[in-house]
């Protein structure tokens, strides 16, 4: 266990905009099958940090390693090819295509058939697409146009799409933002279950502390771009520094504001 490299290893990640240090020397790691929450108040650098992991943003210094391989500064699509699925804070789906077609696009890409001009896409990996949709509880919606779905269903669809390339790591940016409380619990339970079954590592940012403390195996806390705490939910909850940081926003358990612009 200790010999093999961790699934994800982040070392000394740093990014500044002008004179503002958005992220300063952040390091952490993630094991396969582990669910890690990245929390912190608004402007703490969560989104910046996240975007550097998925290739949306390039760090000034520091490294991101996936299973020992350096992915720093690679494009999002290259990182996806290495086995990283992701969901967005504001869902991004193919709105004019059906739910099944959304999943099929990811499967086509995974099967490296993107430049196949003559095959039949409607029949492409239909079985696998169906299985993925069943897995997230969207089996009955396969033929619905994606643009008609409710927000919670779009989040589930994103999860199915993210799972299409059999990822080793899932990056979920505010997976439950904008959802009803009941839907939040369902979605995170589902994610946790899938992650454990398939031994997928999950890193998510989240503002809802109920979701964080119920589902995360481990929590890392960012404040003003630096990592101030790391540990199990119980340890983090008891950490005086974390409490101090969150008192500005009210009680720890009620810090459910949505994050605005990234830091």
């Amino acid at each position: 266990m200790s010999v093999a490299p961790p699934l994800l290893a982040v070392e000394g990640l740093t990014k500044s905009y002008g004179g503002v240090h958005a992220v300063r020397g952040v390091s952490f790691s993630l094991r396969a099958g582990e669910i890690l929450a990245l929390i912190g108040p608004n402007g703490a650098g969560k989104s910046t940090c996240f975007d550097m992991l998925n290739g949306q943003n390039r760090p000034d210094s520091g490294h991101v390693r996936l299973l020992g391989e350096d992915t720093t500064g690679r494009k999002p699509r290259e990182i996806w090819r290495m086995g990283v699925g992701r969901t967005f804070q504001i869902t991004a789906t193919f709105a004019t295509m059906t739910v099944r077609e959304n999943v099929q696009v990811a499967l086509i890409s995974h099967g490296k058939q993107l430049y196949n001009l003559w095959g039949s896409a409607p029949n492409f990996d239909r079985g696998e697409a169906g299985r993925l949709l069943e897995l997230v509880g969207m089996g009955g919606y396969a033929d619905r146009p994606c643009g008609e779905l409710a927000y919670g269903d779009l989040k589930r669809l994103e999860l199915a799409v993210a799972l299409a390339n059999q990822p080793k790591l899932l990056l979920m940016d505010e997976p439950t933002a904008g959802m009803a409380p009941r839907e939040r619990v369902d979605l995170m339970r589902l994610t946790a279950q899938i992650a454990r079954e398939k031994s997928i590592g999950v890193l998510f940012t989240e503002h809802d502390m109920d979701v964080v403390f119920e589902h995360a195996d481990r929590i890392i806390v960012l404040n003003r771009g630096t990592l101030i705490a790391e540990g199990s939910p119980a340890e983090v909850r008891g950490n005086p520094q974390v409490q101090a940081v969150y008192l500005g926003e009210g009680l720890l358990y009620e810090a459910g504001h949505r994050e605005g612009a990234s830091a």
Binding site: F88, A92, T93, A95, T96, M97, I108, P145, C146, N165
Partner: protein, 629 residues
């Protein structure tokens, strides 16, 4: 040395009008997010009105007064256009806005001829600036010096207007965030109208100031709008200083390009534009735009392949179409061949525009390149028809590969402007490079071999190729590549996040569409027996857009129906009236405002209302040459 200085000053003088028009376009875009295609038309009306007024009013005051009055009068027309037309389409997809303002341009072209006649009009010289100044043996018109000073003065006035007045602050705020400005209680309607008026005023002033330099004629609108598009692409849409710098740059490149490449001076501008786009895709002084609104967006109606019944119906329609030579005369068969070629052209654009979400305003370039490819092979290499038909479209393919590479770096209105500019460049080359292309005289005597020479044989050939092309492209819509292409259209963010190289997918689609258009052009060259620069002109590009739009931009097979209906109407219309542009322009505006779903889109909607899922093919209509997979 003196010669180069004079050349440089001439360039600066040309930059003045270009800057006025480009800054107007930029200001309007900044606030309303509409790329006003009709801006060239307002420039042209400004010149015509100023011409008439300067002829009527006498004296120095009369001349300068006439220029200013003309600009104000045209600005008033602009206000009218904004209130009657643009207010209805601010929330429409940007393709529709471009098309509606283009329709306006077409109407203006015919109206101008109707009012002022088709001949070039030479205006008065400006009082006080009639002579020339001697500069080391070279003459510089003193009016040029006036224009050189005017450019920076207008820039300064605009700067003061935007920095020092309440209105200017509102305009700058709206350029950054329209919704926020509306939320602060600003009357959006009047802000938009006033901004449009100012923009049109600048365009008309630019046109009016040209009359002492250039003859006024009814094609000056397209010439200026293409240059202005190049200017705003280089300078960055929405930036006034960018418009100024780029106007100077483009004018100087034109002035010196003639010295370096006398035959194809426009090449230099193209090279600079390409370089700018690689380094800063949003222009020298522009800012990266938020993702553009999607081209589709009227409805969400999933696409599906034809059912077997629909395929049979389509096949039956094809068979019926194939029986035309049994009862129709030669003229009807020639028209039939032209319609079949239009179908090829329309479905090729449809693939790029509806499936890929990339509305090209210069698709005729690849059609025309295919035609020229055939003409070169047949006339210069003397190859037989079948070889020419197979190899000719490769010229379209190569053109699409080069221009497409740059075009797909951009999206939305930038893509539209860039494709238009590219097409205009190809047109200029065909027009200017007389020794190779024959220039305006074209290349004549491209006749089909004897096996395809008779009208009925040629009709069958065109029909067969059209059917094959339609089937092939339709199959591609439902191929893995087609899904990937639709994915990049719907969400760039998500497609990159599932490993799709969106630019490369779009580039591939561009090449496929360009090659297919080239096939249409190759047939067209043989149908007409000749090739002219008009075969890659703007009006042909717009024909293709209207065909797709008329059929239904969000349907799979609308382009086929649209091409048949539009081409038949068009041929009939041209035979009936001299004012075909006026009618066509009005028709485009009408479709955009009241009929945006197109024929097939409407039929689908009606079928939906009857509670039944509808065939996207609509086999009810006469001879849709199509089938699936």
């Amino acid at each position: 040395m003196a010669f180069y200085v004079v050349q440089f000053l001439t360039g600066l003088a040309s930059a003045a009008s270009l800057f006025l028009v480009a800054s107007g376009l930029s200001i309007i875009f900044g606030v309303t997010r509409i790329v006003n295609f009709a801006h060239g038309a307002f420039y042209m009306i400004g010149a015509y009105v100023a011409f008439t007024l300067t002829e009527r009013l006498s004296g120095a005051f009369g001349f300068w007064g006439a220029i200013v009055i003309a600009a104000f009068a045209v600005a008033l027309i602009g206000v009218l256009v904004e209130m009657v037309l643009l207010r209805r389409i601010y929330h429409a997809p940007e393709l529709f806005q471009l098309l509606a303002t283009f329709g306006l341009t077409l109407m203006v072209e015919d109206l101008v001829v109707l009012i002022w006649g088709p001949d070039d009009l030479v205006g008065r010289r400006a009082p006080g600036f009639k002579g020339a100044i001697d500069f080391f043996g070279q003459n510089i018109p003193s009016y040029d010096l006036f224009l050189i000073v005017l450019g920076p003065v207008v820039l300064g006035i605009l700067w003061l207007l935007f920095q020092r007045t309440r209105w200017g602050v509102l305009v700058r705020a709206a350029t950054q965030d329209r919704d926020m400005v509306a939320a602060l209680g600003v009357n959006q309607k009047w802000l938009f109208t006033s901004v449009f008026a100012v923009g049109v005023f600048l365009a008309a002033l630019g046109g009016a100031l040209q009359i002492p330099r250039d003859a006024v004629h009814h094609a000056m609108d397209l010439r200026i709008i293409v240059e202005v598009f190049v200017v705003v692409v280089i300078g960055g849409l929405g930036s006034i200083i960018g418009a100024f710098v780029a106007a100077v740059l483009v004018s100087e490149l034109n002035a010196f390009g003639i010295l370096i490449f006398p035959k194809i001076s426009i090449i230099l501008v193209f090279l600079v534009m390409a370089a700018v786009l690689i380094v800063r895709p949003w222009g020298l002084f522009g800012r990266p735009e938020a993702p553009a609104r999607k081209t589709p967006g009227l409805t969400v109606n999933p696409w599906r392949p034809l059912t077997s019944n629909e395929r049979l119906a389509a096949l039956a329609a094809l068979v019926i179409a194939a029986t035309l030579p049994l009862f129709a005369g030669n003229y009807a068969l020639t028209v039939g061949s032209e319609i079949a070629i239009s179908v090829i052209f329309a479905v090729s654009l449809h693939f790029l525009m509806s499936v890929g979400g990339l509305a090209s305003f210069g698709h005729a370039a690849y059609f025309g390149l295919g035609a020229y490819g055939v003409a070169f092979l047949a006339k210069m290499a003397g190859l037989p028809m079948i070889v020419c038909l197979l190899l000719g479209p490769l010229l379209g393919c190569m053109g699409a590969a080069v221009f497409g590479f740059f075009a797909v770096q951009l999206s939305g209105v930038y893509f539209a402007m860039l494709t238009l500019a590219f097409a205009q460049i190809v047109w200029s080359i065909a027009f200017q490079w007389v020794s190779v292309t024959g220039g305006d005289n074209g290349i004549l005597g491209v006749w089909p071999s004897s096996w395809a020479a008779s009208p009925s044989h040629f009709y069958w050939l065109s029909l067969g190729v059209a059917a094959l092309v339609t089937i092939a492209l339709r199959a591609m819509v439902f191929s893995p590549f087609g899904y990937a292409l639709r994915a990049t259209r719907d969400s760039l963010l998500r497609s990159e996040a599932v490993g799709i190289n969106a630019k490369r997918i779009q580039w591939t689609a561009f090449v496929i569409a360009g090659t297919t258009a080239g096939i249409g052009g190759a047939l067209f060259a043989y149908l007409k027996g000749s090739v002219f620069p008009d075969n890659l002109g703007i009006s042909l590009s717009v024909d293709a857009l209207v065909m797709v739009l008329l059929g239904g931009v969000e349907t799979v097979s609308g382009a086929v129906i649209g091409a048949i209906v539009y081409k038949a109407l068009n041929i009939w219309l041209v035979s009936q009236t001299d004012l075909s542009k006026l009618v066509l322009g009005g028709f485009i505006v009408l479709i955009v405002v009241v009929f945006p779903k197109g024929i097939v889109g409407m039929l689908e909607m009606l079928a939906h209302r009857r509670g039944k899922t509808s065939p996207p093919g609509s086999p009810l209509l006469a001879k849709p040459i199509e089938s699936a997979e």
